[in-house]
Symmetry: C2
Subunit: 107 residues, 2 copies
């Protein structure tokens, strides 16, 4: 009997796609529109667990926000790039960061 409220509500849908502690922080690393290696992401977000980073990247790829590129080199190279849809998230992040600034300043 649980109704799926997300189907019709764009806010819920967005929270589903971008929600959680990490997705926006990951997308933010692609603001320069350059490929980012998996190892760089780990370095840029040092407090995310490897398991969580892998899982969040998978969801971001599934939702069409990032693309994964695996190069069969030795050692293997894995890079991610941001998609057109992913880039639409960047202004959202700016808005959120702007809102957070007042708290960072006053806290």
């Amino acid at each position: 009997m649980k109704k799926n409220y997300t189907v019709d509500c764009p806010i819920r849908k967005t929270l589903e796609i971008l929600g959680g502690k990490w997705k926006l922080l990951i997308i933010f690393q692609f603001r320069a529109d350059q490929p980012v290696r998996y190892g760089e992401l780990k370095k840029k977000i040092p407090d995310i667990s490897e398991k969580m980073l892998i899982q969040e990247l998978k969801v971001l790829v599934e939702n069409g926000l990032l693309l994964k590129h695996s190069y069969p080199e030795i050692p293997p190279r894995v890079e991610y790039t941001i998609t057109k849809r992913g880039k639409e998230v960047l202004p959202i992040i700016d808005t959120l960061a702007e809102f957070g600034m007042q708290y960072v300043k006053t806290v």
Copy 2:
């Protein structure tokens, strides 16, 4: 040794204040800038548990986004209003909703 990354990062700070599944949906109910009774919130967001709604409202009041007003009537009346700071969240919600629209349409 766990570094508190939120202190300096406005994105993390915002996610801390607005993160989770419900806070934005709650704030959205105040878009008309009118007081909203506790019971109305429950009706507007039917899939939130009572415990979670109370907890999220408490955090929103603590962070200065909502104000709580208790009227000693019988039965007791509890209303919430949105603050100036809370109103700053409304454009963020609009941006998020706009982003979600394309997913709602195509899914």
